[in-house]
Symmetry: C3
Subunit: 210 residues, 3 copies
């Protein structure tokens, strides 16, 4: 009985921490979408994304600390570690994009980034469903569907990046503007790659426990 | 006896899958060489590399699925996972280079990339020898030689990238052309880095089983 | 008693190798600082950094070989592997920066890189303290302080990169010069990110053994 009390809180607390961690990813992608639609990043919103990034970082550190102190974990140790790091990478990359928009003094976010921000927001929401569902094997169908959606959106993002880069190199004569947007589009696509990595880890965890 | 029958098919099937996976790497590097010599990437060949990339991806997923379902593996689990991911990265990066040549509308591939494509092709062929040889400890000498060759070619690639970038920055006055080729040369060198990572994993597996 | 004799040499030899490995990181960051203050990279110093990089590489290979041959390790196997790779990445990235300064024919290193080189040098020295301290639990306070310092310097580096990039995009009208310095500043910041990764691994090892 004592053992049961020791084990279960740990299981549930890992998943609770992951749930908390993905809320910061969801907040960050919602903010990117909001700012893309607004068209500009001001100092107030720069502080907001940095704040979200710090909070996400704190949860990632909590997960890794708990992992290091736990003998028994609900999933394989390396899956917990990879999951915590990759979810952290989502917020980090979103923070990098929003910071770049500010540093590069971009005062009219283009429609391409608006489209990217919508796809990213959908993907991150699907990630939240997949990660939060890990507490119950009943969720396996919903998790699987969410992971398929993340993979689909990664392909959408690949095609968007290729189209946007192609247009950029064809129409942008100012090389300094080209450098800015090339980096921003590539970072936006990277967010979708990281979401796919997260989905792959979640799927691995599912397969091991099926 | 039952256990023996359970174990061996698994061992052989992992190596069979890796053998299959590297055939896609070999096909991708042969295609880059073919296109570099031809001088241009058309839509038909763009579809070909995407097709190879998808097939390689499927094998990588099969390996990871089988890994997640197996209690007993021929090598350490983390080596199998890293090997599958890194071999996948070879094709992904080759696909990225060929896609860029198309997106950037490069209609005359330069001699530098021809040279890179030949070194990459040699390195990927050596990787195929090393990975395919893992089914038999008798191959250890051939594997070791292939890994040494991959390391040598990575150094060749480093020197090529440095020379080509130096020339590019000295002679290319059009910054947009410079941006295109800088990325292509750096990605080409990255393929050789990834091949070296694969060789290092193969060598680790060898040392653990010697 | 035999067991004790078997265990301890192994423990100490891993830590001795890590100590040796970080001396190469310290040498590389000291060289970057020296060259940044001098203002230019000549062939003699290019050979020096390549030499340091090769020596660091040799130690990393020794650590991985010993890991592959050891059944008992002082820390978790994956921590030893990550630590060896990440410390290797420090020297590799410093080598890449110094090589770029030469390839891009930069004959007046700017004050921004001087500042970066000083922060990097401090961070790498803190890494050396943290890594070398792993041989004795008595060092835990000093290790913890060194890791906090590395984290602080990573934040300093982030702010420096953002400021320097902002100024660069505002004042540099020559896109080719902008491309060069953008890459150099970003690589400099990457060194501090890698140092933070090293500090995180050291902290994980500490938590597991406390």
């Amino acid at each position: 009985l004592v053992l049961i009390f020791r084990f279960f809180p740990r299981e549930f607390s890992f998943i609770a921490l992951f749930k908390e961690q993905v809320t910061h990813s969801v907040a960050a992608s919602a903010l990117l979408k909001e700012l893309a639609l607004k068209g500009v990043v001001d100092h107030y919103n720069l502080e907001r994304i940095h704040h979200i990034e710090h909070e996400g970082d704190d949860v990632a550190h909590k997960i890794i600390d708990q992992l290091n102190k736990s003998f028994i974990t609900p999933f394989d140790r390396e899956d917990i570690l990879s999951l915590a790091k990759k979810i952290d990478d989502i917020v980090d990359t979103l923070d990098a994009i929003i910071s770049r928009l500010n540093i590069y003094k971009i005062n009219r976010i283009d429609n391409n980034l608006v489209q990217f921000s919508m796809v990213i927001d959908e993907s991150v929401k699907a990630i939240a469903i997949a990660v939060s569902g890990l507490n119950n094997t009943k969720n396996s169908k919903a998790i699987k569907e969410a992971c398929i959606e993340v993979n689909r959106l990664e392909n959408v993002g690949d095609a968007m990046r290729d189209t946007f880069l192609g247009n950029l190199f064809e129409t942008e004569n100012n090389p300094i503007e080209l450098i800015k947007w090339k980096e921003i589009y590539q970072d936006a696509e990277t967010v979708l790659d990281i979401c796919e990595d997260v989905a792959n880890i979640v799927e691995s965890i599912m397969v091991k426990h099926s």
